[in-house]
């Protein structure tokens, strides 16, 4: 059989060469990242140039009919008497049924001395299996049916998901439910997960963009923040089977969000889910978090990597969260800064200067904590200073070079005309509703957000730039090949260049000597 184009997305290599960097998955063993790839980008003052000189715009004569009526199908939301929320999204196109359970609590809530616990839990939960059926037997049973049950650990949640052909749906659901309620964590599978995690840890300095992403986030949040602290061989080694059990007991009583989609009978499915979940104890609210987000001090940091010929430049600061009423304005500003080909950053750094393949950035928003402001540029060693200066100038230009009506119109067109791709499949609608439920946003958030985007004015943009863009609250990180970077980073005049030590602590080994990690610390 012919392989589809992204048949092997694990290795960036298989993706071919594209016009734009795609957000690659990276290796599963190391966190995916790739710098500024698909973020936002910043400005080039080219927009008004000469457009009036163009005589003839044949594309504007092409009629654009009214869009077909479309009301995305919302899932049915059911609140069980214990507080668990269920969403049912029917979709009869193909004979599959899939489901998921989202559980509050993630790596930001784990003991810092055991950083990595939730990630290990996410693996060992599924690979261990249950008392009735161990993980290996579960693999055999499911794969013979082309079905899947998987578990995950994330920074604010863990999850269990399943999918199968319709005919196997009842059996697979029972197995998933058994795994949800009666897992049996095994020491052997924890050890396997620890080994895989250790493989990721010792390799985390191999790829430049991985280093840049990780260290840039640490500069914004601080190295010990729950959002950036990193697993070490010692912290993953400290995790025990009891820790996994305790974690499970601690989180499983939270407000679970169950989502089912696919080819099922809604009445029967609702009854089945009520039978499965309604008798569980009332859900316990998640404890409130009290994180402090100070943001970085202006500075310039450098990490030397001798085997590269390209620098990863990251210009970062603190972002915001989606509760902020300025978010629609900021989204428009991001589009102008780095949202697409016409954005200021792309136009200037890539198109006009030819200094980068990947350039982009913007001020991003998370649902329940401030995300980051981030602009990234990948450029050859020799042009590091030029590209950094150009990117910094575009950022600063947000407050000094007023936004134009043309930029505003373009950004709104870009965002609003593609807005329906946020809900053009039933699965996307379901995922959005689960997300809003999880973070406590109203179900009509997307409509409100869209209305907000439509109302953004030039005055809003200029005010937002003044309020949120402070170059004295940004820090610059460069990962690259020191001797090749000429002129040097001191040319940027951002103060003394601070070297960041990224040596991986190897318990029981000489510092700096990479090699075997303890198999079972």
């Amino acid at each position: 059989m012919k392989s589809l184009c992204q048949h092997f997305p694990r290795l960036p290599l298989f993706e071919g060469h594209g016009l734009k960097p795609v957000p690659f998955t990276g290796r599963s063993i190391s966190k995916a990242f790739i710098a500024g790839a698909i973020f936002a980008a910043f400005l080039a003052p080219l927009a008004p140039l000469a457009i009036s000189a163009q005589q003839n715009k044949p594309w504007e004569k092409i009629p654009i009919p009214k869009l077909h009526d479309f009301k995305p199908q919302q899932p049915k939301r059911i609140v069980l008497k214990n507080g668990i929320v269920v969403f049912l999204q029917e979709d009869h196109e193909l004979p599959f049924v899939s489901g998921s359970v989202l559980i509050p609590g993630g790596s930001r809530d784990e003991d810092p001395a055991k950083t990595g616990l939730v990630s290990l839990y996410g693996q060992a939960w599924r690979t261990s299996g249950t008392a009735k059926l161990d993980g290996d037997a579960l693999d055999d049973l499911l794969e013979a049916k082309a079905a899947h049950i998987e578990t995950y650990g994330d920074d604010d949640s863990t999850a269990l998901s399943w999918d199968s052909l319709k005919g196997d749906a009842d059996q697979v659901f029972s197995l998933a439910l058994d795994l949800l309620l009666h897992p049996k964590f095994s020491a052997e599978k924890l050890e396997l997960a620890q080994q895989q995690a250790a493989t990721g840890i010792v390799r985390r300095n191999d790829e430049e963009s991985e280093i840049a992403n990780r260290e840039a986030a640490k500069l914004v949040y601080g190295p010990t923040s729950p959002y950036t602290r990193q697993p070490e061989l010692a912290t993953i080694g400290a995790v025990t089977v009891d820790d996994l059990k305790i974690w499970h007991e601690r989180t499983i009583g939270g407000k679970l969000i169950v989502g089912i989609s696919g080819d099922f009978d809604p009445v029967a499915m609702e009854a089945k889910l009520r039978a499965a979940f309604e008798e569980l104890p009332p859900v316990k609210p998640a404890p409130a978090r009290h994180d402090v987000f100070a943001g970085p001090k202006p500075s310039i940091s450098f990490i030397d990597k001798e085997d590269v010929n390209q620098s990863n430049v990251e210009i970062v600061g603190l972002g915001t969260d989606r509760h902020n009423p300025d978010v629609p304005t900021l989204a428009v500003m991001n589009e102008i800064l780095g949202g697409g080909f016409a954005s200021r950053l792309f136009q200037k750094v890539r198109t006009e200067l030819g200094l980068a393949y990947a350039v982009g950035g913007g001020l991003s928003f998370a649902y329940d904590h401030p995300a980051t402001f981030r602009v990234g540029v990948l450029t050859k060693s020799a042009s590091t200073v030029d590209a950094t200066k150009a990117a910094l100038a575009e950022i600063a230009g947000l407050t000094t070079r007023p936004f134009t009506q043309d930029e505003l119109d373009r950004a709104k067109d870009n965002i609003l005309n593609s807005f329906l791709f946020r809900y053009d499949t039933k699965d996307k609608v379901l995922a959005e509703r689960k997300r809003l439920e999880f973070y406590g946003y109203p179900a009509d958030y997307l409509e409100t957000y869209k209305a907000g985007l439509e109302k953004v004015t030039l005055a809003d943009l200029n005010a937002a730039a003044k309020k949120y863009i402070h170059t004295d609250k940004l820090t610059v990180l460069v990962v690259g090949n020191g001797p090749e970077i000429k002129p040097g980073l001191d040319e940027l005049k951002l103060g003394p260049v601070q070297a960041i030590d990224i040596t991986i602590p190897m318990p029981g080994l000489q510092p700096g000597k990479s090699g075997s990690a303890e198999k079972k610390p």
């Binding site: 012919k2 059926l133 693999d139 049973l141 390799r203 191999d206 790829e207």
Partner: protein
């Protein structure tokens, strides 16, 4: 290892799977026959329209049967360069005055040629003259730039709701794609047909710098990129599959716009292009619109097939990279192209060897021996149109070496050669293949790409479903026979990274050397 429960579960599973699939394939094909309309235009271009009105959007895929494998000798990276050029606009979009711009672009080309001629002089290159020629080139470029409206092509697409706008060039093909609201179908047809038919070498040399930056990112500065470039370059002695598809630095840095436009003229002809549209479109309404615009693509003969056939490998080859990064292992064995009757047998081997936690390689190397964090077997690589490689890749866990990994993989290969796979393994392959095929049908973009690819490679999109016949016919004996044919020492190339401390490398990785090149 095998518990009673596992056996019981498997038997039940197989029975259920067999029932679920009876007749499914014919049904799916019949179902799609009703949704899909194809039309070959007089210029040879094939249109495929698939009606899937789930939401008022559509996705398209323009599949050009030309990729990096078609880069002429000395011009590696050309197909990819052209792909980037196809986003720079046409004589109507992206320019303030094309008549004047055309004259200016000709001067850019002449200035570049003059510079290159001096640069490439083996004897008597004049450094002073080189500086002057470079200056003249930059001036010509600046003059041409006066007429440019940067990124107007993509700007129009994005303002009209284009989502996921991108393209990629691999060895076998070049593919352009995005999704849009359905009411922009005609606008899209204008944009897409314009850039296929009326490409202009605008901002070519700046874009070349962007592409070289892409090479630095994906290959030079990436340990896996370096390893794989060396691996395929070693595995092939004659065929273009051994060549870097982003291009060797010295070549990609000297590609010129004239060469790119010649490539366009030869390969971007109707007979070499399939365009598939999937989504909320009605074939009866859409086809006349598509026909109107895509008829503008020039007709031309299907480009001739290449004559080079990779000679049979008779000596085992190895590449050892010693550097400060963590170890990795890859090996490959030459196999036939995708039209080979055994194509599905290779897929069966991949499924059994490396698909998921039930696979042989996972259970042996990851779970039981605990020497690898990840291991996969797959084919074909680096392409499928011509004979590719069957590859194994593994990432050792800390403390284990590529040599241990290699030996463990070879042990599993020997097992495959010495004894039949089980009935359960074979059935699992067939079940999973069918399910994966079905799962891929629910996504407009994926379906557009797949239909265009099958239409190109087999001359009929229906092969997407018909291939299941070949899947069904794979036997245990086939797997054993193919394993014995292909997985032999003299047919193997292996490459690995051995970790050495930075001080001991003696020299920097080859990839960190200065770029060669004209600019």
């Amino acid at each position: 290892m095998q518990s009673r429960m596992r056996t019981a579960a498997l038997v039940l599973g197989l029975a259920a799977a067999a029932m679920a699939w009876t007749g499914a394939q014919a049904q799916d094909l019949k179902n799609f026959e009703q949704k899909i309309t194809t039309k070959v235009l007089p210029n040879g271009l094939t249109l495929i329209v698939c009606e899937r009105p789930e939401a008022p959007v559509f996705s398209y895929s323009t599949f050009v049967d030309a990729g990096a494998v078609n880069d002429p000798s000395g011009e590696s990276g050309l197909a990819h360069m052209f792909e980037h050029l196809a986003f720079k606009g046409t004589s109507q979009i992206g320019t303030t005055d094309y008549a004047a711009e055309k004259v200016a672009l000709a001067k850019v080309e002449a200035a570049n040629n003059a510079y290159e001629a001096e640069y490439l002089k083996a004897v008597g290159r004049d450094p002073q003259k080189l500086v002057e020629l470079k200056k003249a080139f930059k001036e010509a470029e600046a003059e041409a730039h006066k007429y440019v409206i940067p990124n107007q092509f993509t700007d129009v697409a994005e303002r009209n709701g284009a989502e996921g706008l991108n393209a990629y060039t691999v060895l076998d093909e070049t593919v352009f794609f995005w999704s849009m609201p359905e009411n922009r179908l005609e606008l899209w047809a204008w944009l897409e047909s314009s850039r296929l038919a009326d490409t202009v070498p605008r901002e070519f040399y700046k874009e070349r710098d962007v592409v070289i930056e892409e090479r630095r990112m994906r290959t030079d500065s990436n340990p896996e990129g370096r390893l794989f470039e060396q691996f395929v370059a070693t595995a092939y002695v004659a065929h273009n599959y051994g060549r870097s598809n982003v291009g060797w630095p010295s070549e990609v840095s000297q590609i010129n716009a004239t060469e790119a436009m010649e490539f366009h003229k030869k390969y971007y002809v109707g007979s070499n292009i399939v365009v598939a549209v999937v989504g909320d479109v009605k074939a009866s309404d859409a086809l006349p619109v598509l026909e109107k615009y895509f008829s503008r693509v020039p007709a031309g003969p299907k480009p001739e097939e290449m004559t080079t056939v990779e000679p049979k490998q008779f000596a085992e080859k190895t590449v050892a990279i010693r550097e400060a990064t963590q170890p990795m292992y890859v090996e490959g064995y030459h196999r036939p192209d995708y039209r080979d009757p055994d194509d599905a047998v290779y897929d069966a081997i991949s499924d059994i060897m490396s698909n998921g936690r039930v696979s042989r390689l996972y259970r042996s190397l990851v779970r039981d021996q605990q020497i690898a964090a990840e291991v996969v077997g797959f084919s074909p690589y680096p392409g499928d149109k011509y004979p590719g490689l069957y590859c194994f890749i593994a990432i050792p866990v800390p403390g284990h070496t590529p040599a241990e990994i290699r030996d463990a993989i070879h042990k599993e290969i020997e097992r495959l050669k010495a004894a039949d796979v089980t009935d359960e393994e074979l059935a699992m392959y067939k079940t999973r293949t069918r399910a994966d095929l079905l799962r891929g049908l629910a996504n407009n973009q994926e379906l557009a790409n797949t239909l265009a690819e099958y239409q190109t490679r087999y001359g009929d999109w229906r092969e997407l479903f018909r291939q299941l016949d070949r899947v069904d016919k794979v036997t245990k004996a086939d797997i054993r026979r193919v394993a014995n044919q292909v997985f032999i020492d003299s047919n193997r190339t292996s490459a690995w990274i051995e970790t050495v401390a930075p001080a001991a490398t003696g020299q920097k990785a080859a990839t960190a050397q200065k770029d060669g090149g004209a600019q």
